[in-house]
Symmetry: C2
């Protein structure tokens, strides 16, 4: 007989515990065993791996949760994925996937028999094998277990627009100390119970990090409960160390919380959204290294930080081999596996079937579920450009209208993510078709805020990135709109996602997912009122350190090129696309046909701005980015005025990776093509959006590199006018002209006169700016006159 | 008569409100006025700045808090600093510093008269003037108001070891959504009421960010209170919009919380530390843009997001000039300033005196209080190196002993900060003299944890960085010990600190502070068990984009060089020093004398490893970093064996900035010196710790750059052996030998034979590693044999 507090009958309890023992056995085996997987022989040093590398501490708790989730999945036919915050407990997730059969399905070599088990053990954290953490190689995972802090954001991202999905998200108490995790609990203010699924957070308090105690394990229970009530949850505590009591308690708690999740969803779906629900969460307090050796070398181990990695790291120490053998034998593998190493059928029957297995849930291999976006025609938003420089437009505002149409056509699988910068980055048009998402209180005066909103704004770049990653990894599409400087806040999250994509490329069963798209605006050159602290164009430098095959960087110089690039990025797969574009009114250069052609090439001569058509240029003026393009063209105009005979070639770069050799990046120009564009011996003045040395780093192997002179941002700025900012960094038209004069010796005596005129002009401009507080009209109203 | 809930008598109330009005008047003036500061003439468009750039929304709330803090400072003679989370409210802090007189003391041009006020207004967010945010230029600030999230960490860092100091820290509700802020509330578990000061957090709920509502303003009051109770605070709510009622409420609340802070401190200081106190905090809910225009163009403005920046941004719109004039006049400046523009004496008397003024508190200009560290002799920890490669040591373990001695000698002004990696990075020796800091619960089994601990460990790189910055900015010293890959988590925080240092360099009244020192260990080459997710050596790339004058990067190859570099960094000022070093047992190359000489030069030929003494080398083998140095020397040994006649020069680089030209970095070698070392025409094989293209970026201007071939990390890795990791990235000794063979044509037919032998060797190694799970003994036990 079972009760609400003792929901497991003896037979269920026995089987549940048996699965847990099996998972723990397989975990210890992975960490330690090179051979003798079923302990058919007495354990000897030769059966132990030479290097013991893994994390035991969190592992038994992860498996405990796993088997209990399986029970409710089967009971309620749930679609559930397991997001493993403490992903260094890799052995647990691998063990459970193996017990469920998924592992052998995707890796047939790791068969469900003694030989398979031997290989399962050996491959773990072994050269040529698998990582010690939960990783892309782990079936059922969308969260790398390397860097900590993002599990809960990933989990929420996964269930947005997935009403039938539940993401059970285990949060380690170490990870809970990170900033990104601390704010991600607030994701519940952005989850709509009608068209989103549910997240079940399970805070796993096992008390220690690598060496020190954790914060949340050392505050009184009333504070702990208040904290999670304050975050808006209904916490349920599962605490203890006796396995049988803990099984009953965990089962009873899961019954309660699953019922509560279903009640919340059914209410909202039957009667409409009323008010933000108080979703349940679980606090599981169990010993670190639970069921492991109580003590090693006389020092307490189970329940302490000494269980964090490998409890006995040096197996040649006297007694250690015996401790390991006892430990393994306590799981009574002979009751779990038959003589061939196969899991006994009655225990195996605990696993859900097919795609209900968490290790085989297709949401954790999002490419399986990915649909192409329905694409509006970006040409419909073309800015009419009768002649280069003839009109002004705000590039990202035009892009925003395209994104609006996209959101209209794709109301269930595309979202925008931004730290409160959607409007500021000029994507306001999207609010014609959707709102900012919030299920928290809405008051009169709020604009474009609602529970059905598909613009995800929280002032946390970490949240935006984490949500978006979770959304993409489960097979949907999105865009991150951010201030350029502050995208560095998620440098490390980007690292992890780029690494994930790189690894997935070599895993055939992982299907391609939509690219991670960044719009970086409010960029370095237009921090008129935010100044120096908001100036950093270095995300590009950071991004291109990652594997070339997953990285793309675009610097469209105007609205039509931005539209073309945006369309391209939205259709791509498995990349990280970084687009840097301006939001301020700026001259437009290319009509739509020219823009498409230019973006398709990624780099090209602008013939209408060049006068070298009848032969070799005397100087190449290259540019990448909207402000450098403007200054370059203004410099060219000045040069035409001062030196009408001077042959100038203007090259604009949209796709930065074109500059690299093809050996370094698949987009790279061949040396022959590069030389055709940049010549092999003429001076090149390159005006670049970001830190100038990046251009050298991309081109150092090119023939004409020694003639390359790059201007860019060199960390000079404050709140000032746009033109003052380019002057401060010597990227302005006058300095570019001076650079040309310095490098074309044949200009002769005329050059000195021109340089003096330019110097005078600069002084005049600086004076005007400091006195009047704005740029001279000739800068503000400058038009390209071909 | 006054009461506990109405503590202000009418006269005090009048004066307090007058100060607030004066601050608000000066704030609006800064945002709008180009001239006519005292409104002696009717307001005209010519009095308005051409570009209106600033943030009004948060400003009145910041000044409201300011004047109330002044009241309790005077009442209790407190030493208090003001940490401005919503630092875009720059006008408020500038206005209050001006009212206090400090501003005119540090900037005599901004005098306390009409002309000074005119300049004060004009300079704000104006070319050649001051930034719109709280910035280094703002007296009394230690927290740049650009990027959000770090105010509370800075505040706690400021009061560690400053028992008499209180940091009042205003946290905006936008900033409160960031991850770093969300976890920094837990800093109260690390604050000792005996030898640390106090932080008074003031959460300023004004409801909106740039455009959207804030999370914490939209949760019910019981949740809000539970959240901060859960964080361990006693929250006090101050809520309303009627100024007079709010003055009484704020004054009463401040009386309560100051008394509570003093009670906590007195108790602990009289009776010893008992248990973690429940420190008070304030939640101030006031309208955004309080006292500003109620509506503009028919749209509600005060109390909405429309107050965030400049309420009327286009002053040529009909009616806007009138709204501004009414707004300014409502502050009744004629009651506040005399005809010469000087603040009336009775109001001025509200300000505390001298260094008690928050704008003049020396703790906010930490260099004023900075003392040199008492330095132990690092030579005492020298590893005895009878001959190069003759002994092994763990470099960071040796360094940890030096840090231990340093902590012993400097028990009040030096701390170590680490995300739970002090022991893992092998600094365990420090626990001989101190503990991990925690004032939370301590249980049996904890090791080296205590309320007096000076090792600050929380699993949040953000917290560690923020605390350390706050500690340094208030005139103390510290070290951040971190895993190399995860230091990217604070990329953006580093940006802001580096920018702060760069700006301070040009502010004469800001005194130099101790450098921000990073030890990055557990580095890319030794992620034997953490694998790919833990491999990223790109922080160096990120760091050197900042101004050369504040950036230093060191890659000491062994323990003695690490000691020498550490000593140097701890004595430096106003830099960011990045030290990358290994923690694993590794061969030692230099005895202490040689190490000091080598580190002083920063780069040099290692003659004992070179055989070109009698002339020009045929190849230069350069290296930077411990693992690249090992592989380079192993390659040299192989080359000596295969090609005894080959003249090889070995160069080791400790100070990476030596590679840049002196025009780019003050440490840069002259071209002549560089050419002497690297030759002008011989092949250079450079084995580098990080991403290889960085070396090209540093050296692209050098004569012999076209002969430079760099090996480094190219994003290939997983959990594997150390040697397998270098093989995967072609940084191993065999690949280096092959590189040399490819580039020294004269080696002739012998070369083909050697290359085949090397290829065979590599296959043999890979096979052994995959089979046995460890490196071959010849790698593990390799010794340099000169």
């Amino acid at each position: 007989m079972t009760t609400a507090t003792q929901p497991l009958d003896p037979e269920s309890l026995r089987k549940l515990d048996a699965w847990w023992r099996a998972a723990n056995y397989l975990s210890v085996g992975q960490i330690y065993l090179y051979d003798n997987p079923l302990l058919k022989e007495p354990l000897a040093l030769s059966h132990i791996k030479p290097r013991l590398l893994g994390h035991w501490g969190t592992t038994p708790g992860l498996s405990f949760i796993y088997v209990h989730l399986n029970r409710v999945i089967k009971e309620h036919d749930l679609s559930l994925i397991y997001v493993t915050g403490p992903g260094h407990g890799g052995p647990a997730l691998v063990a459970n996937a193996y017990l469920e059969g998924t592992y052998s399905e995707v890796y047939p070599n790791i068969s469900r028999d003694e030989e398979g088990m031997r290989r399962l053990f050996k491959q773990f954290s072994f050269p040529g094998g698998i990582p010690s953490h939960v990783a892309p190689e782990t079936p059922g995972s969308i969260n790398e277990g390397g860097e900590l802090g993002y599990a809960l954001s990933h989990a929420f991202g996964a269930v947005f627009d997935n009403p039938e999905l539940i993401a059970a998200c285990v949060v380690g108490d170490g990870e809970a100390e990170t900033g990104p995790m601390a704010t991600s609990w607030h994701s519940n203010k952005f989850l709509n119970p009608i068209h989103d699924g549910a997240v079940l957070p399970i805070l796993h308090l096992n008390g220690y990090k690598i060496a020190g105690p954790t914060v949340l394990a050392r505050i009184p229970r009333d504070e702990l409960e208040a904290l999670f009530q304050g975050y808006g949850y209904a916490p349920h505590i599962v605490e203890g160390d006796d396995p049988m009591a803990m099984h009953q308690l965990m089962a009873a708690t899961l019954d309660t919380v699953v019922a509560e999740i279903q009640r919340i969803q059914n209410d909202a779906r039957a009667f409409g959204f009323q008010t933000r629900p108080r979703w349940p969460m679980i606090i599981l307090r169990s010993p670190k290294g639970w069921t492991g050796p109580e003590s090693v070398d006389g020092k307490a181990t189970e329940g302490t930080f000494r269980s964090h990695q490998v409890p006995m790291a040096n197996m040649t120490e006297p007694g250690h081999l015996g401790i390991l053998e006892d430990w393994l034998k306590r799981y009574r593998a002979e009751e779990l596996f038959d003589a061939t190493g196969r899991l006994n059928a009655d225990i195996a029957a605990l696993a859900p079937q097919g795609e209900r297995r968490m290790s085989a849930n297709p949401h954790a291999n999002g490419g399986l579920l990915l649909h192409d976006l329905r694409m509006p025609d970006f040409r419909d938003h073309a800015v009419d450009v009768p002649r280069p420089g003839g009109v002004e437009a705000e590039a990202t505002r035009v892009q925003g209208r395209f994104i609006r149409d996209l959101m209209r056509l794709n109301p269930h699988n595309f979202r925008v993510f931004s730290p409160d910068e959607t409007a500021s980055n000029r994507w306001g048009a999207v609010f014609e078709v959707t709102d900012r998402c919030s299920v928290a209180e809405i008051v009169p005066g709020d604009e474009h805020v609602g529970p059905d909103g598909r613009v995800m704004e929280m002032l946390s770049e970490h949240q935006c990135e984490g949500w978006l990653e979770g959304y993409l990894l489960t097979g949907r599409h999105g865009f991150f709109s951010c201030y350029e400087a502050f995208i560095h806040i998620i440098d490390s999250m980007f690292n992890q996602h780029a690494k994930w994509l790189k690894v997935c490329d070599d895993i055939p069963w992982r299907r391609p997912i939509a690219s991670l798209n960044y719009l970086l605006s409010s960029h370095v050159w237009r921090q008129d009122h935010n100044g120096f602290s908001h100036q950093d164009p270095g995300f590009i430098d950071h991004v291109i350190n990652k594997k070339a095959k997953v990285i793309r960087v675009y610097l469209p110089p105007d609205a039509n090129t931005l539209l073309s690039v945006t369309d391209h990025c939205l259709r791509s797969r498995n990349y990280v696309n970084v687009i840097v574009a301006g939001k301020q009114p700026a001259p437009q250069w290319l009509d739509m046909d020219a823009a498409i052609k230019h973006c398709t090439a990624g780099i090209g001569i602008w013939p209408w701005a060049s006068n070298d058509q009848d032969g070799e240029p005397e100087v190449v003026m290259a540019c990448a980015g909207d402000v450098p393009t403007l200054e370059t063209l203004a410099a060219v105009a000045l040069l035409h005025e001062h030196f009408p005979e001077l042959k100038i070639r203007v090259i604009n770069v949209v796709d930065l990776m074109k500059l690299q050799p093809p050996s370094e990046h698949p987009h790279g120009l061949s040396d022959a093509d590069f030389d055709l564009l940049f010549t092999t011996n003429k001076p090149i003045i390159f005006a670049y959006h970001g830190y100038p040395w990046l251009i050298h780093r991309l081109t150092y192997r090119r023939t004409n590199h020694h003639n390359l002179h790059v201007r860019g941002y060199k960390e000079e700025g404050t709140t000032s006018t746009p033109f003052d900012t380019v002057i401060k960094n010597a990227l302005d038209r006058f300095d570019l002209v001076a650079d040309v004069i310095d490098r074309v010796p044949r200009l002769g005596p005329q050059a000195a006169y021109a340089k003096q005129a330019i110097r005078d002009k600069l002084i005049e401009h600086k004076h005007y700016i400091t006195e009047k507080g704005e740029d001279m009209p000739e800068i503000r109203d400058w038009k390209w006159l071909p």
